[in-house]
Symmetry: C2
Subunit: 248 residues, 2 copies
């Protein structure tokens, strides 16, 4: 299979320049040359045959050819709202969630999250996660690039859901001991919704206040009788819900 | 919650010594003392209250108390037959599979696996994976410790399934392009079996010969329209099948 690149403005028949990261990957890592056949995706769900037309230093122009099939998308558009995890764990969650087919990732700063939104911004974490999302899209065969949304405070979650800034139904993953009102996976209706939000907490879990504030707007959901690690909860919950909805 | 330790011979009312690793964890990491209350599990599914009775150097004797509830086990006993992955990735798969509730892990050496059974043996990899399984059981709240079975060559898989050395139904995860006869997840019957084997290949995938040899004995199964990384396939497949069977 030809190498795949992210070309945001790709339209059949046009000549476009690859973004810098992609151009470097093409010339320096894969060492492709003028005339080599490649595939590109536009990040919005379309994929095309293409070929390298000019290479000048780090600039790569490509000629876009016919549309071709990318990996199928689930019928449900899932936003993963994930509490920012420690160290590299958030990177892994972004990579895995993109591979599993989410359409957007909303980082959340909770009471028990150890970094602030200001620190995330200074460290350019959002840009980093977006690059990881691009790499994961390339690897898993999707043509849709999930955006990394601007980090949100956990206390703003109910309002974001009410305002449909994040889609409903919104499932908030909780420990079985944390909520008397939580549904189990078997209680989730098998009819696939058009969209959904899956909200996953940090290593230390949600505070009782966060769960209380969310109740009524978000639907508390427990995932397993075993304790699932915070950094594994997103992939497990996405796999389970997509299975429930016959969309994995 | 009191700290949990692995005490293989635990029976109510008896005095038992902790295994060396567990004794070190109790004295050096958690710095517990005589009289401190703990919980222990026997690795076979039973869990007990206990208390520290003697500490002599690195030896710890504990008094076993009443039985207590551990995390519930799925009704289906799943053996994960996992092709050995590169570097630390196999460690992560063992940790995750134990957390998800498998009852045994069968390492597989395939045509595209870069280490031999002899190398695995010399490097004491099986002992290492067993220690990782113990750590994962402690973390996820289970009282059942999945054994790490002796590594098996992929070519022996059909025979191991036929001889019921590995349980049926046996699902072999394959790429959609690798088999014309593969089932999708939606084709799997929702009735939970008593036991099952989930067979996951290496980074480079199965060879056509391995898939051909397995057909008839193992049931080829595709997991997603997106390409799932080899080191993520086990957790995704276990989550999906347990959801299908209403056992997550």
């Amino acid at each position: 299979m030809n190498a795949r690149f992210y070309a945001p403005a790709a339209r059949p028949g046009t000549l476009v320049s690859l973004p810098d990261d992609e151009a470097r990957h093409l010339t320096r890592v894969l060492r492709l040359r003028v005339g080599d056949p490649i595939a590109v995706f536009d990040g919005l769900g379309a994929e095309f045959d293409a070929s390298v037309e000019h290479v000048t230093g780090d600039r790569v122009d490509i000629r876009i050819g016919d549309a071709r099939a990318a990996a199928a998308e689930p019928r449900v558009a899932i936003t993963l709202a994930q509490a920012v995890l420690k160290g590299d764990k958030m990177d892994d969650v972004v990579r895995d969630a993109v591979m599993m087919g989410v359409t957007a990732i909303q980082p959340i700063v909770t009471s028990r999250t150890e970094v602030s939104r200001a620190t995330l911004e200074r460290a350019h974490r959002r840009e980093r996660w977006q690059r990881i999302a691009v790499a994961s899209v390339k690897q898993c065969g999707r043509a849709l690039l999930p955006p990394i949304l601007e980090p949100l405070e956990a206390e703003m979650l109910p309002q974001a859901i009410s305002a449909r800034q994040l889609p409903v139904p919104a499932f908030m993953l909780v420990e079985p001991s944390a909520s008397a009102h939580a549904s189990a996976l078997r209680d989730v209706e098998p009819l696939v919704p058009r969209e959904a939000t899956i909200v996953v907490g940090p290593e230390g879990g949600w505070t009782p206040e966060e769960i209380e504030a969310a109740s009524g707007t978000l639907r508390p959901l427990t995932m397993s009788a075993r304790t699932i690690r915070a950094d594994a909860m997103a992939i497990v919950a996405i796999a389970a819900l997509l299975t429930k909805w016959n969309e994995l």
